[in-house]
């Protein structure tokens, strides 16, 4: 870990100012991802701005009938909130399937959205990685790819976004609210928040360099049957091999988002109009780019969708 300096911000405005004031500055929220990466010198900020005391830790109703989740709301608290459990059960279930209780106690809503990939080569600083070291190459391609992406990949990077929470937020059409140092705010639909790798896998979101996430809003409840199916190699404390967030409606206006497939939570709205699991899967997985190690993910997605349709019909 490189030596760094640290300050604590007390208001969102002060936080973004502090971020803009010095180069190589980062926010620290729960720190559960950032500190691990700093220890390995994958991230090497010179200065940290602690945003834990900005008062952004509340969940409030919106005038539209949705919920506004503060950026610093802990994963544990969000999952346990009675409104979330009642009206957005898919989100609560996704959160509870992630990490471990200790990590969820620290992990924040914004930090979770911004967590970085678990590609093992990204973690190994002796290996080329376009995400860690732009232009150095991608060690994963041709290597151990079982857990890596099959959708929206590029020749530069085949990493996945590892979050469970973000997959549920994608199916709910959450909106990410931000503030910039000059005070401007933005509302970014989650569909536009995470990026595909393209030639710049190191640029992972559309968040500006000095922007801060202040909240995530959920539109009014959708009703329906909320399912989060996370397939994993052990019962707990494992990232998804694949995951499916589903909201199933009697009228057939189902929604599906997928984890473990791509550099972002994967959703193909067009596919949701299809009436059978197989047809949905086919449309969702169109253009899949698999390796012999991860081709099973397509079969897995098809089977999980089949089972979700059956569950909804039952």
């Amino acid at each position: 870990m490189k030596a760094f300096t640290y300050e604590r911000a007390n208001t969102p405005a002060a936080a973004v100012k502090a971020l803009a004031a010095r180069p190589d500055t980062k926010f620290i929220a729960g720190g559960t991802n950032l500190l691990d990466l700093m220890k390995l010198q994958i991230e090497t900020p010179e200065h940290l701005v602690d945003i834990n005391r900005l008062g952004l830790d509340k969940i409030e109703p919106t005038p539209e009938g949705g919920l506004r989740i503060g950026a610093l709301v802990r994963n544990t608290d969000l999952a346990a909130d009675s409104r979330i459990r009642r009206d957005y059960a898919v989100l609560s279930r996704a959160l509870l399937s992630g990490a471990s209780a200790q990590l969820r106690n620290k992990a924040t809503t914004a930090g979770n959205l911004l967590q970085r990939t678990r590609c093992p080569y990204f973690y190994d600083t002796t290996k080329p990685c376009n995400k860690r070291d732009p232009g150095s190459g991608c060690a994963a391609i041709g290597g151990f790819t079982r857990n890596l992406a099959i959708m929206g990949t590029s020749e530069a990077c085949i990493a996945t976004h590892p979050s469970d929470m973000a997959v549920a937020m994608r199916v709910l059409d959450a909106v990410i609210e931000t503030v910039a140092p000059d005070g401007t705010t933005r509302a970014i639909p989650i569909a536009e928040f995470h990026r595909l790798p393209g030639n710049t896998p190191h640029i992972e979101t559309t968040l500006g360099p000095n922007e801060m996430i202040t909240a995530v809003t959920l539109p009014p409840p959708l009703g329906g049957l909320h399912i989060y199916r996370k397939v994993r190699d052990r019962s707990s404390y494992a990232f998804a091999v694949v995951s499916v967030a589903a909201v199933m409606q009697k009228n057939g206006r189902n929604r599906f988002a997928f984890g473990g497939l791509a550099h972002k939570p994967w959703r193909v709205e067009e596919a949701e109009k299809k009436e059978t699991a197989a047809a949905v899967a086919e449309a969702v997985l169109a253009g899949a780019h698999t390796t012999p190690q991860n081709a099973f993910k397509t079969l897995l997605i098809t089977r999980v969708l089949t089972s979700i349709f059956a569950q909804a019909a039952a």
Binding site: K2, Q41, Y123, G143, R234, S307
Partner: protein, 735 residues
Amino acid sequence: MKFDTPALDNPIDRTRVIGRPTDRIDGPAKVTGTAPYAYERNDVAPNAAYGWIVGTGISTGRIVRIHTKEAEAARGVLAVVTYENAGKLAKAKAHTARMLAGPDVQHYDQAVALVVAETFEQARAAAKLVRVEYAPNKGRFDLAAEKENAIKKDSQVGPADTATGDFPAAFARAAVTVDATYSTPDQSQSMMEPHATIAAWNGDELSLWTSNQMIAWAVRDTAETLLIAPEKIHVSSPYIGGGFGAKLWVRADAIMAALGARAAKRPVKVALSRPQIPNNTTHRPATIQRVRIGAGKDGRIDAIAHESWSGDLPDGDIETAAFQTRLLYGGANRMTAHRLATLHLGEGNAMRAPGEAVGHLALEVAMDELAEKLGIDPVQLRILNDIQHDPEKGPERPFSSRKLVECLTVGAERFGWAKRNPKPGQVRDGDWLVGMGVASAFRNSPTQDSAARVGVDAKGLITVETDMTDIGTGSYTIIAQTAAELMGVPIERITVKLGDSKAPVSSGSGGQWGANSSTSGVYAACMKLRGELAKKAGFNVNEAVFEDGQIRAGGRNISLGEAAGPDGLTVEDKIEFGDMQKKFAQASFGAHFVEVGVNAVTGETRVRRMSGVFAAGRILNPKAARSQVIGAMTMGVGAALMEELVVDKRFGYFVNHDLAEYHIPVHADIPNQEVHFLEELDDKSSPMKAKGVGELGICGAGAAVANAIYNATGVRLRDYPLTLDKVLEGLPSIV
């Protein structure tokens, strides 16, 4: 004390203290965080500087140049040690690879430098400034590809090959045969406490406060590596956060700490970080195993062969995967063979039940396959092929004790095996396909000579000293129980001091020999002390009874303290095992029963129930023994379902080298585990009449899981770990 004839009735048989489920005497210190582990020994080395190991970034080749200037100039840095300034070093005979690379690199993440600084963070940050230029070589990393080039090499613990009768002929004529090939991946011991050492020099004397299973070996190997006299080395390792074989040897943490301390002229502490451990230290090597069994229609085995291929660095050792097959089942015509390929993947070495843990994953699935072909219940098949003597050596070498059949029958009863549907894929519980599997458990029970010093003071307080280690197993407690039993005092009056090279040399902890051997060493010393106390008190030692802190004989009694006299009395003795292992095959036995659910949609396997019955001689402390067995069963689940160091065959290293990506079971993976020990006293194993239990539980546990998956799904998998993608291929469509 020599142990070369079977034990008679002896004071251990009183079982007032021994054999009881006594709580661990080191437990309170450990759970309150007051037991100092190696890295925390600030009491002995308060001003230690911090060392951080830089690992090689290539797997094989040469170092062209090491640039250390930047690191040396970094804040707080006291020294940077590389092969260029470390002084002359040798490779210890016990090590396959050197602890410090240079100029040759032998494997990925081999230590190439140690950066010593005032603080941990300074050392770690400066380590990133060490730049190394390499001239890489092409290495070999693919066991399957190197299989054809593998050579015959004997292991330190036995010959590579054995053969009895005429296997090929018997196999060719057998009515029913199985011929199957299995593979097991490289695995990492993944003990909780990483390798860690504080080293300090006092003139030419070196102290290592470290985490090590085998103190005397640590002294020997450090002496050989640093080219100093063993007498100049002091090793202390009183608390060890697990080892599973990874700490049988001093590793880079200890050697580099010693070099760092010499360079910095200060004590230096070094711990390996978790991501360094899989590639820098030792691992269990991958195997490819072929098992062939030929049986008559009645289920009796007439031909059995087990061949294993594994890899290691040049001059490495084989993974003895076929060893259990030499002894587990009968059959007149048999052969085993091991072949070793050269692979440049770090040092292959012992991990809990070396050989047998992975050998069972093949043999015990082959038995399941045979049972199915025969149409015989797999429990029955194993019972049918039980044998009470070494099947290779004949009736002249009987087992010292062997209750495999009882383990199987009692286990089947307790588990409810009769409810199993022998036809696979029939039982369903919602989305879950449910199946049951069985496997035998066999683990050789070696013994090692072991010495101890036992003293009693004027107050009748007893101190036991031996260099035995407690790696989380309960050694402190069973040694205290042994001494309390023999000296006739409550356990509170015993102080046990372990893990110090100044104490008499014990068996150490490894190969599941530790409990039986080290308590036997304590037995020897206590018997000697009893003799001397009796003599001093004027008693006939054969009549003297040691009870309630008193020695009684001929109507007289005297307290231990009085008998010892004002200066106390201390003796030392050693158990020497003679040739009992030659005369008798010594092993512990068990039977695993497992119920799994396999998700019909996703192929995820979750263990629902585990039950094991074990016979391992006298169970010295049922609570500690149970902990050992459930831990080992858990590791068996890991081996079956998830543990795999993934080899990147291009770069030549284990890619998933941290605990987020190298999966071991978590609590949620492990259901209720039932453990039952059969009564057994083995008078040929030691005066304690105990056998090894620490590694028994892993043997067969994973195979029972694999067999249960087959029973649940009808999918027979032979390449471990049995992850969902492999299961999925065989599952029927769900539409």
